[in-house]
C-alpha cells in the first residue's frame, strides 16, 4: 500500500515538474477558466432576473449545484487526467500504453500517474468561489452534520466522475469513434447536474437515478443542505446515498477497466 502511494507520488511529481516549464499555458488556462465561470454566472443572473427562479430554485440554490459540480469535476479532471478518454485513447493508439505495460508496476496506478493536469487548479478555484458565493446567497442553516457531510459529497462526486472517465477510457480499447458518446456522459452529465433535476423530463431523471445515479451525488445532497422537500418521494436517507453511489460507480469503472485490459491483451489494436 505504502509503496503504491509512494509510486503514485513520484509519478505525479514528475508530471508536475514537467508542467512547471509551461507557465504561460498555466496562466492562459487560469484566465480562460475564470472567464468561462464568470459568463456562466452572469447568464444565470440574467435568466433569474427575468424568470425569478429555475424550477423554484433561487440564484444561490442553483449556484450551489453548479459550484459543487465544478469543484468536484475540476478535482477529478486533475486527479484522473490519465483516464481522460481523449488523452487515454491517444496513448493507446500511439503505443504509449504498451510502454506502461512493459513496466513491472500496477497498470492502473501508472495510468493515473501518466498525466496530471495542474492547470485544472483554475477550474477548482473558480468552482470553489461560486460555491462560496452560493453558500452566502442561499443562507444555509449550518449544522455539524452538514458541515461534516459537505466534503464527503465532494469526494463522492470526484469518485463518480472518475468512474465515468475510467469507463470512457476503457471503451477506447474497442473503439475510438465512441468518444463523443462518452463525453456526453461525463461533460453532458456534469452540465445536467448543475441544474435541479426536477426540471428535466421523467425519462432523463430516471436515467440519472437508476442507470447513472448522478441524482444522489448533487441533487439529493442539495435538498438536504438547503432544507428542501423531496418532490419524488424517495426514502429519507436518499441524500446520504452519495458515498454509496460515488464509490459504486468508481468500483464499476475499475471492474470494467480490468475486463478491458484483458480484452486489449487478447486483441491489441
Amino acid at each position: 500500500m505504502w509503496s503504491a502511494i509512494d509510486l503514485y507520488y513520484r509519478l505525479i511529481g514528475a508530471q508536475i515538474r514537467a508542467q512547471l516549464q509551461y507557465r504561460v499555458a498555466f496562466l492562459v488556462e487560469l484566465i480562460g477558466q475564470a472567464m468561462a465561470t464568470g459568463v456562466w454566472f452572469l447568464s444565470l443572473v440574467l435568466i433569474l432576473q427575468r424568470f425569478k427562479s429555475i424550477g423554484g430554485w433561487t440564484l444561490g440554490e442553483v449556484s450551489f449545484l453548479y459550484g459543487m459540480v465544478e469543484t468536484a469535476f475540476g478535482m477529478m479532471d486533475m486527479l484522473f487526467s490519465g483516464f481522460d478518454p481523449g488523452f487515454f485513447g491517444r496513448q493507446v493508439r500511439r503505443g504509449t500504453f504498451d510502454q506502461l505495460l512493459l513496466r513491472p508496476v500496477d497498470i492502473t496506478l501508472q495510468v493515473l500517474g501518466s498525466e496530471f493536469v495542474l492547470r485544472r487548479l483554475g477550474r477548482i478555484l473558480q468552482g470553489a468561489a461560486i460555491l462560496a458565493v452560493a453558500l452566502a446567497l442561499a443562507e444555509v442553516r449550518w449544522t455539524p452534520i452538514k458541515l461534516a457531510y459537505l466534503p464527503v459529497v465532494l469526494a463522492s462526486l470526484v469518485c463518480f466522475f472518475g468512474g465515468l472517465f475510467i469507463i470512457g477510457s476503457t471503451i477506447t480499447f474497442w473503439t475510438v469513434e465512441s468518444i463523443e458518446v462518452v463525453n456526453i456522459l461525463t461533460y453532458g452529465g456534469s452540465e445536467m447536474m448543475s441544474y435541479p433535476m426536477h426540471i428535466y423530463r421523467d425519462w432523463m431523471r430516471r436515467f440519472f437515478t437508476y442507470i447513472v445515479p448522478g441524482i444522489f451525488l448533487n441533487y439529493y445532497p442539495a435538498l438536504f443542505f438547503l432544507d428542501k422537500p423531496d418532490p419524488f418521494g424517495l426514502p429519507p436517507f436518499a441524500p446520504f446515498l452519495s458515498p454509496v453511489a460515488g464509490a459504486g460507480v468508481l468500483a464499476a469503472g475499475l471492474t470494467f477497466w480490468r475486463f478491458g485490459i484483458r480484452h486489449y491483451q487478447s486483441t491489441g489494436t
Partner: protein, 330 residues
C-alpha cells in the same frame, strides 16, 4: 543447455471487422458483424539459447511485431506454447517485464518533458534497482552511449539518435537477461547506426544479454547476427545461420575477371555477362547451376586471365529474392 525462449506452434489470430459503408451499411454492421480472420502469427516454432543474438526479419505485416509483443507479455497468444526464461509472459506480466528489456524504435519509454537523467532515476525506482547497481550500470552506459552531452536535456528536445541511445540505456539499467529490439536503427544516419550496433554487440558479448532484434536494415543483421529467422505471412520461412541463408538462397554470385588482353567475345557456358568494361568483365551465375572453379576452368582454357575474384551477394538482395520469388513457399 535450456533455452531462454521456447516457442512451439505459436499462433495469434485477429478478427478484423468489416465496416459496410452508408446508412444501410451501418445498420447491417449492427445486426451482423462480418469479420475476416487475420493470421498474424500462424504456427511459429523456435528456440533461442541464452547469449544468442538473433535477427528477426520480415516485410511489413509479416508478424514480427506481433511475435515480439507476445514474447514481451503484451499480447495473449491464440494458441501454442510460449515460455520465456521459464515464465509464461502474459500470465505473470509484472514478474516477466521486470526481467526483460524492450526498445520499440518508434516510441520512447522516457518521460517526454523531463530531462533524461530524471527519467532514469524514476526507472531506478520503478524497477527497484539497488543504488550501487544503478550507479555502476549508469556509469558504464554513459560512457558507451556517450550520454553526457544530453543527460540534462528534456527528451522532447533530443535528436532521434540521442533518444535511441537514452532508450537503450533505460532498457538495460535493471540488468535484464533478455532484450527485445524492434527496429533500433530506424531513421538513423550511418554513424549513429554504427554506434548503436557497437553497443548491442557489447551488451551481448560482455554482459551476456540475449538479444532478439527485428529490423528492416539488413546491414544490422549482417553486422550483428549469426542467426536469422525470417517470417512472412505469419509463418517462419527460415531459421538458421546467416551463412546458411546465403548458401541456400544466395542466388546469383558474381565472378569478376580481368583479362590480360581485350577479347571481342567473352561469352561462357553457365554464366552471363553482366557488365563489360574494357578488359574487366563481370559474370553472374547461379550458385546451384555451376561452381566458381568450373567457370574459372572454362574461362582460363580460352582466355588469358590476369586477375579474378568471386563476390557473394549481399544479404539484402538475398532476402529480397526470398520475399519476391517466394522461394520458401511450401
Amino acid at each position: 543447455m535450456s533455452s531462454i525462449i521456447a516457442v512451439g506452434d505459436l499462433r495469434k489470430h485477429f478478427k478484423v471487422y468489416r465496416h459496410r459503408r452508408g446508412f444501410w451499411g451501418a445498420l447491417r454492421n449492427l445486426a451482423t458483424r462480418q469479420y475476416a480472420l487475420v493470421r498474424a502469427v500462424d504456427g511459429v516454432s523456435f528456440e533461442i539459447q541464452p547469449g544468442e543474438l538473433v535477427g528477426y526479419l520480415g516485410p511489413n505485416g509479416a508478424g514480427k511485431s506481433t511475435t515480439i509483443k507476445m514474447l514481451a507479455g503484451l499480447l495473449v497468444p491464440t494458441g501454442g506454447d510460449l515460455r520465456v526464461d521459464g515464465r509464461v509472459p502474459w500470465r505473470e506480466r509484472r514478474a516477466h517485464v521486470a526481467r526483460i528489456g524492450a526498445v520499440f524504435g518508434q516510441r520512447t519509454t522516457l518521460w517526454w518533458d523531463l530531462p533524461v537523467i530524471e527519467s532514469l532515476d524514476l526507472l531506478q525506482y520503478i524497477y527497484r534497482i539497488p543504488p550501487e547497481r544503478f550507479r555502476h550500470n549508469l556509469a558504464e552506459f554513459r560512457e558507451l552511449l556517450e550520454l553526457d552531452p544530453f543527460l540534462d536535456t528534456p527528451v522532447r528536445a533530443l535528436s532521434l539518435g540521442q533518444r535511441m541511445r537514452a532508450d537503450l540505456c533505460a532498457a538495460l539499467l535493471h540488468d535484464p537477461t533478455l532484450l527485445f529490439l524492434d527496429e533500433p536503427t530506424i531513421g538513423l544516419d550511418v554513424v549513429a547506426k554504427e554506434r548503436i550496433r557497437q553497443f548491442i554487440r557489447h551488451i551481448n558479448s560482455q554482459r551476456g544479454v540475449t538479444v532478439l532484434l527485428t529490423t528492416h536494415d539488413l546491414s544490422d543483421v549482417e553486422k550483428l547476427c549469426e542467426r536469422v529467422m525470417i517470417i512472412d505471412r505469419g509463418r517462419l520461412l527460415f531459421d538458421g545461420a546467416l551463412d546458411a541463408l546465403r548458401e541456400r538462397f544466395g542466388g546469383q554470385r558474381e565472378l569478376v575477371v580481368e583479362f590480360a588482353e581485350l577479347y571481342a567475345d567473352v561469352a561462357v557456358d553457365g554464366a552471363h555477362v553482366a557488365r563489360q568494361d574494357g578488359q574487366q568483365v563481370v559474370y553472374r551465375f547461379e550458385r546451384n547451376a555451376v561452381t566458381a572453379s568450373e567457370l574459372i576452368g572454362r574461362l582460363s582454357a580460352r582466355y588469358r586471365i590476369r586477375d579474378l575474384s568471386v563476390r557473394e551477394p549481399d544479404i539484402e538482395s538475398t532476402v529480397r529474392r526470398i520475399y519476391e520469388e517466394r522461394l520458401l513457399e511450401t
